[in-house]
Point group: D2
Chain length 139, copies 4
């Protein structure tokens, strides 16, 4: 995925805590999705928006599908980087993609994606607002 990662990306540094690990001495597989969320928030914030503000504008982005491929384990105290970008702005959904890198930002340890619906406060699908997809051009 490294070749065609979205140009308008963000990188979030993260130090692995004990609470994220499991008895196999690596980060538990569900924790990657927490990391993905943190990086989505960072992507928005780097573009002067926050998901809280999106909600305040009446738009919610519930996850419809989530995927992760685990290549090499993350261990306690590792410094890692989560790279994030938007792969696709669809009519009523958004596809975020992720790569987790080691400390040197050269080795990919995991990749993933999350697809989000665009819904209003009643949970009804709505078109992705233009002010949201316009973020793509920021960086």
């Amino acid at each position: 995925m490294q070749g065609n990662f979205p140009q308008s990306d963000s990188w979030l540094p993260h130090r692995v805590s004990y609470g994220e690990t499991d008895a196999m001495n690596v980060v538990y597989y569900a924790e990657y999705f927490h990391l993905f969320e943190r990086s989505r928030n960072a992507w928005l914030r780097e573009r002067n928006l926050s998901y809280r503000t999106i909600e305040e504008r009446g738009i919610f982005l519930p996850v419809r599908e989530a995927n992760c491929r685990y290549r090499s384990p993350l261990r306690y105290d590792d410094l890692i980087y989560i790279r994030v970008g938007v792969q696709e702005w669809r009519r009523a959904s958004i596809l975020f993609v992720y790569e987790i890198y080691d400390e040197t930002k050269t080795k990919i340890l995991a990749t993933g994606s999350t697809q989000h619906a665009c819904v209003n406060a009643e949970g009804k699908p709505v078109p992705t607002p233009a002010w949201l997809s316009a973020l793509e051009k920021c960086s």
Copy 2:
């Protein structure tokens, strides 16, 4: 605490999952508070109430203080029992106490407590409703 545990108690069986453990090969210390919550829910449900119903009646029980003493580690796949009861019904708060037991229900592995305020939907303290403290007499 074993001697004076509240009489109207409940016991919740629980099988330790991988996701609850950490790299020290034991259950991570924050996870005990999830177990306490599960046992509080079980205590209410055994008395034909649920916390969801309490909220629907306009009462919320946010945690004001939480405490846990860790005696012996819990390991992956262990079958444990969480014992729970109400130690004190105060005017506007409730004190739950907990004991975590091994599979034989004879060895205490941890003890704890959580103090909950009684508040309304606006977060204002309200007296503990009589229908709530009356649960104590059920069992």
Copy 3:
């Protein structure tokens, strides 16, 4: 997926706790993977094995890929069922599949899958042991 779900399945009941929910008032998307793990453990235990025993025999099953599709939200205090089975026994990996049902066991709320490598204590891939794939015939 309902049509061709593996025949040798297991069903795990689960009551949604507060700690699994998020501010959108639904179960947080990463929590589904904890539920999947719990159901895997239940599937093994119903066949008189536990993942702990598997590890004691020198076999580890790290997750290589995980996927979840979220159809309808899970809410606090909901009673749900996680259905689990093995879709494929490959030479050196195993594909578990999942369906999450509502209380009536008729409505699918989510589906998912996890692919696990078979490795030894050194992390080297090894063929799936015959005593493991033989579990498929138990039920």
Copy 4:
């Protein structure tokens, strides 16, 4: 506790994620203990040590008791600061204390403490190493 907080303290900034919140729209009470752990790690790292290194030297610091008082809720996307210090170096244990502050570092939102035993790889209590308690003088 503000008055007599240990002088050799550290401050860890933290942005609240969705995964840390619950259906009451605030950070779930167990999550505070994850934050405490992150701040302990930061305290060590600011003194040029990491808990991983401590373990590599054969010393483990399992939590024996944990406590948190919740004063004001933390909400999604809040920027908070976790202040951490060592209140007491006992013969074979260490007492960490914590304060969680709002964005302005003026309002205390929560306080807490964790007591850690000093044990070797076999889990036997050992005296707190001098190279560990010497960290107190770093800052």
